[in-house]
Amino acid sequence: MIELVIASRCIDCDRCVRVCPTNVFDAVPGGHPVIARQSDCQTCFMCELYCPADALYVGPDCEQPEPVDEEAILATDWPQQYRRDSGWGKNRDRHPNDVWYMQQMLPEALSIRAGLPRRRAGEGQEPGS
C-alpha cells in the first residue's frame, strides 16, 4: 500500500492526485499532496510510475499498511525503481522496453522444464526499437 509522499522530493505537481485510479490522494493548496484514503490503495504502483520526482513509496504488502521510516526508504532506490526500469522521463535512453522478450520466455521455460538443451532465447530476435 501507499506509505509515503516524500516531502523533500515532492514538487507539488499533483500528478499522483490526477492519476491514482483509486483516488487515494488529496491535493493541498500550497502544500504537498496527502495520502487521504490509504485503505483504498490497490497496490498497483501506478503513482510511482507517473511521479516525476521519485517522491512516492508504495509498500509491498497489499493487505495492510506497513509504516516505514522515510530515511531508510530514501537510502534505497525503491521510489525510482519502477519509473527508471520502465524507461520513463529522464531514464528514456538507458532503460530499453524489452517486453518483446516475453515471447521468448514461454518456450525457454518449457524447454528448461523438459530438460531439453536450452534455446538461446533472444538470439537473432527483436533488438527492441
Binding site: 490497490q42 509491498p60 504488502d61 517486453v99 522444464r113 530476435q125 527483436e126
Partner: protein, 533 residues
C-alpha cells in the same frame, strides 16, 4: 446547482480501460459527440494498465487453425464467425498504433504480435481518445442508467469523486466498458472492477452468459498483488513439508498448488530462470520485482510463500450476453465492450486472458463505438434527447456504515475466491455460498435511497458484487459437469448434454436458463446473415 453537472452527449462510454478507450475512439471517429467517464483515471484504470498484453494478431492464413484449436479447447461453446471477425478487426486496427508505440522490429517490420506494455499502451490510448475530441471525465463513476419510458437507454448518472456532488449525462447511446470483476481478490489493478456495469445492465434488462466460467487463478507472492505470471514458469515449488511439487505448466500445476495450499504454505524459488533472463527481467516486466525486493526477497535464490489470486470474470469469460453483431446488450441503445461482455463466443469455457481478450477489446470497442455513433446521429435528427423523460432505475442504496460495507465486500470476496469454494467446486458448497449471498442481497436491498459520496459508491459496488456473485453461482450450480476452467469435484467429467450456454438474469429473483443445445451455433448463422445483408 454547483454540486451537480448536467451533461449531454451523443455517445456516453462508461469505463476508460482498454475497451472503453477503443470504443470512445471509434465513436468519435464516426463523428459522434462522445463523453467517456471513468471511476478512476483513464490511463491507469483497468487491468491492462498494470499488465503487459499481446493481441490475437494473426494473418488470415493462420486463423483457421487457431479457430479449430480454440473451438475444441473452449468446449465447443464458441462461435467461429465471431472469432474470425474479432481477429480481423485487430489485424486491421493495430497498425494504427505504429506511430505511437515502439513495436519491436522483426525482419525490418514492426512485430505487432508482440506483447505491449500496459502503462504505455493506455497512455497512448488516452492521448488518442483526447485528440479525437472525446471529453474524458476522470473520477466520475457511473452508478445507474437512465431509461426512457419505453425502456430504451437515455443516459447515465453518477458521482464526482474529486469535485464532490453528482452528474447526469443524457445520451443517445451508452457503451458499458466497465470490465470484468475479480470480486476484490487483490488481482493487480482490479479493485475498481466491482461489476458496476453488470448491475446497471441487469437493471435495464440485460442477461448474462457464461458466468460459471469465473474460476481462473494466477500465482502471486503472498500478500502481494503482483499477478504477472510469466516468471513463475521458472519456479521450483515446495509444499509445507518441503516436498517439491512436480510443476511443469500452469495448466497442470495450478490444481497441484491449490491442493498444496489447502495443506499449508507453499513456496517458490525462481531458480530455473537463466542468468540472461534474470538480468533482463526488470526491462521486460518492470513491476514484477517491486514487491519482492521491498520484502528483502531475492526471488532467484530465496524461496518465498505464494498465494493464488482469483481472476473472476476477468480471465474468466462470463459477462453480458450480447444480442447482436455490434455488441448490443439486449436493451435499446445499450452496448457492452471488453470484459463486461461475455467472451464465451470467442473462447468458450477456457480463459481468453491475454491475446483474445485484448483483441476483443479492440473489436468490441470498434463495433460498439460505430453502432452507438450511428444511433446518436439518428437521435439528433429526431430531436434533442433532452426533451424525453428519463427515469431512474436501480436507485443508489442508502449507505450502510463503512464497517457494514467492508464486511459485505469481504464476505463476497471469500465466497467467490476461496480455493475450496470456487476453484474446487461442488453443488453443495456453491448452494451454501449462494445462501450467504442471498442474505447479503436482502440486507442491501433494504437500503434503497442514496448518497452521492465515496460511501454511497462503496455500497453500490457491494450490491454489484453480490449480484454478480449470485449470477456466477446460479450458472455454476446449473452446469452439472466439468468443462474448461469450471471444475466440479462432484461432477468431474464433461457431459455432452451441457454443450450449451447457460444464461442468468434478474435481481431479486435470478432466472437461470439452459439454452437449447447448439443454439449458439444457430445464433451464429443469424449473425452472419445480418452482417452479410
Amino acid at each position: 446547482m454547483a454540486d451537480h453537472a448536467d451533461l449531454t452527449a451523443g455517445v456516453l462510454v462508461i469505463g476508460g480501460g482498454l475497451a472503453g478507450a477503443w470504443a470512445a475512439l471509434s465513436a468519435a471517429q464516426h463523428r459522434a459527440d462522445v463523453i467517456l467517464v471513468d471511476k478512476g483515471y483513464c490511463g491507469t484504470s483497468g487491468v491492462t494498465a498494470t499488465a503487459g498484453v499481446g493481441h490475437w494478431y494473426l494473418p488470415p492464413e493462420a486463423r483457421a487453425a487457431e479457430v479449430a484449436a480454440r473451438t475444441s479447447a473452449g468446449g465447443d461453446l464458441t462461435e467461429p464467425d465471431l472469432m474470425y471477425r474479432t481477429m480481423e478487426v485487430a489485424w486491421q486496427r493495430l497498425p494504427e498504433l505504429d506511430q505511437y508505440y515502439p513495436w519491436p522490429v522483426r525482419d525490418g517490420q514492426p512485430n505487432r504480435a508482440s506483447s505491449v506494455r500496459g502503462p504505455e499502451y493506455m497512455r497512448v490510448m488516452r492521448a488518442r481518445v483526447r485528440r479525437a475530441g472525446v471529453t474524458i471525465l476522470d473520477f466520475h463513476p457511473a452508478t445507474e442508467l437512465l431509461l426512457h419510458g419505453d425502456g430504451s437507454v437515455a443516459g447515465a448518472a453518477g458521482i464526482r469523486l474529486q469535485q464532490g456532488g453528482t452528474w447526469t449525462c443524457r445520451a443517445s447511446a451508452v457503451i458499458l466498458a466497465t470490465g470484468g470483476t475479480a470480486f476484490l481478490s487483490r488481482l493487480l489493478g482490479a479493485n475498481n472492477n466491482t461489476a458496476d456495469g453488470h448491475l446497471m445492465a441487469a437493471e435495464a434488462g440485460a442477461r448474462f452468459s457464461g458466468m460459471e466460467f469465473s474460476c481462473f487463478y494466477t500465482v502471486a507472492a503472498a500478500h502481494s498483488t503482483m499477478t504477472r505470471s510469466f516468471p513463475f514458469m521458472y519456479g521450483t515449488y515446495r509444499d509445507c513439508e518441503g516436498n517439491e511439487l512436480p510443476f511443469q505448466t500452469f495448466q497442470s500445476g495450478l490444481p497441484m498448488i491449490a491442493s498444496a495450499l489447502a495443506r499449508g504454505p507453499v513456496t517458490v524459488v525462481l531458480d530455473q530462470m537463466p542468468r540472461r533472463t534474470r538480468e533482463r527481467l526488470a526491462h521486460v516486466q518492470p513491476n514484477f520485482l517491486l514487491p519482492l525486493l521491498r520484502k528483502g526477497i531475492d526471488p532467484f535464490e530465496d524461496p518465498f510463500p505464494i498465494t493464488l489470486r482469483g481472476e473472476g470474470t476477468i480471465r474468466g469469460t462470463g459477462g453480458v450476453a450480447l444480442t447482436g453483431p455490434e455488441c448490443q446488450a439486449g436493451v435499446e441503445g445499450l452496448y457492452a465492450a471488453g470484459d463486461v461482455a461475455s467472451r464465451e463466443p470467442i473462447v468458450g469455457a477456457v480463459s481468453g486472458g491475454g491475446q483474445p481478450n485484448s483483441a476483443w477489446c479492440v473489436a468490441s470497442g470498434t463495433w460498439s463505438g460505430q453502432a452507438a455513433a450511428r444511433r446518436a446521429a439518428a437521435g439528433l435528427a429526431a430531436g434533442p434527447a433532452g426533451t424525453r423523460t428519463a427515469v431512474t432505475v436501480g436507485a443508489v442504496p442508502r449507505p450502510l456504515t463503512a464497517d457494514d460495507i467492508e464486511a459485505i465486500r469481504g464476505t463476497v470476496s471469500r465466497e467467490l475466491n476461496d480455493i475450496d469454494k470456487n476453484m474446487l467446486r461442488t453443488g453443495e458448497g456453491m448452494r451454501r455460498s449462494l445462501a450467504v449471498l442471498e442474505d447479503l442481497w436482502t440486507q442491501l436491498a433494504g437500503h434503497a435511497t442514496g448518497a452521492a459520496d465515496r460511501d454511497g459508491l462503496r455500497t453500490r459496488e457491494a450490491a454489484a458484487l453480490v449480484a454478480a456473485g449470485r449470477w456466477v453461482l446460479n450458472s455454476a450450480i446449473a452446469r452439472q459437469e466439468s468443462r474448461g476452467m469450471h471444475h466440479r469435484t462432484d461432477a468431474p467429467d464433461r457431459d455432452p448434454r451441457f454443450t450449451r450456454r447457460i444464461t442468468t438474469s434478474g435481481l431479486d429473483t435470478v432466472l437461470t436458463t439452459l439454452a437449447p443445445a447448439g443454439e449458439h451455433q444457430a445464433g451464429e448463422r443469424l449473425s452472419r446473415e445480418r452482417v452479410a445483408s
